[in-house]
Symmetry: C2
Subunit: 153 residues, 2 copies
């Protein structure tokens, strides 16, 4: 058992194959520590992976994610897999879906963009100009987004 | 083995009994992610503990901490224990030491304090007014520090 880095959890969610370096951003997306930590959360960074060279893993006990959280994870960790665990068994396993369009998940970096005007109720909207690595362009002002992780809403 | 949340590491440092909620601040103190993650790092938050009710744990493979990092951890996690692991064995185990005086580790919150003047080469210096919970008072301006974790240098 000495080499096993990933111990099983009884109930909850395992987010596996996270792009290395992105684990702390995934934590932010699922509201940690802002909304408080009521169940055990494990974060593994820079773990050797068979599929890719390195990966990060986040395990959250007794919690499942909502759609907007999964969609945001897809933006920063396009190879992530979401495993739902119940009574030590993986009852669901799916990959995150690369988006075709990104609506209401990230902020445009252009301060003058209409989506950043406090009085305008316009949701941000980006088209995907490159899928790997993911590149987004604002639907309204055409500005390409430099740093997706930093601009998550 | 199903209940074992803490898997052993071959070489490195295990920081155990961290005050719950402080794991991400301990990461910051040891320079993660700012200085990059070159070895596997595991973070466990809100883990049941026999000694106290809940604790956080941080494990860093292939790294040992320097004195200033250990001293900073003592400020935000006064019950932490530092375990140095070599070839799966704990070769050193010690508690962090509660400080008598805190020099050069935290910033005074008073913007007018002499320790915050860019031209004055004065290191911050605090006396300990309460040990549990830790409360610090600036040696120069007498201001009590409100949030230690936020003001770590």
């Amino acid at each position: 058992m000495r080499d096993v880095k990933v111990t099983p959890i009884k109930n909850g969610t395992v987010i596996d194959h996270i792009t290395p370096g992105m684990a702390l951003n995934v934590l932010k997306i699922i509201g940690i520590p802002d909304t408080g930590v009521q169940s055990t959360v494990s974060v593994l960074m820079h773990v050797p992976s068979r599929k890719v060279k390195w990966k990060d893993i986040v395990k959250v006990e007794d919690r499942e994610l909502d759609k907007s959280q999964v969609d945001k994870i897809a933006l920063i960790a396009p190879n992530a897999t979401i495993n739902i665990i119940r009574n030590y068994n993986v009852v669901e396993k799916h990959s995150v879906e690369p988006p075709k369009e990104v609506v209401g998940l990230v902020r445009c970096e252009n301060p003058n963009c209409i989506t950043n005007k406090p009085r305008e109720p316009v949701r941000s909207r980006f088209s995907v100009t490159c899928r790997d690595p993911l590149k987004l362009k604002c639907h309204y002002c055409d500005r390409e987004l430099g740093d997706i992780a930093k601009n998550l809403l």
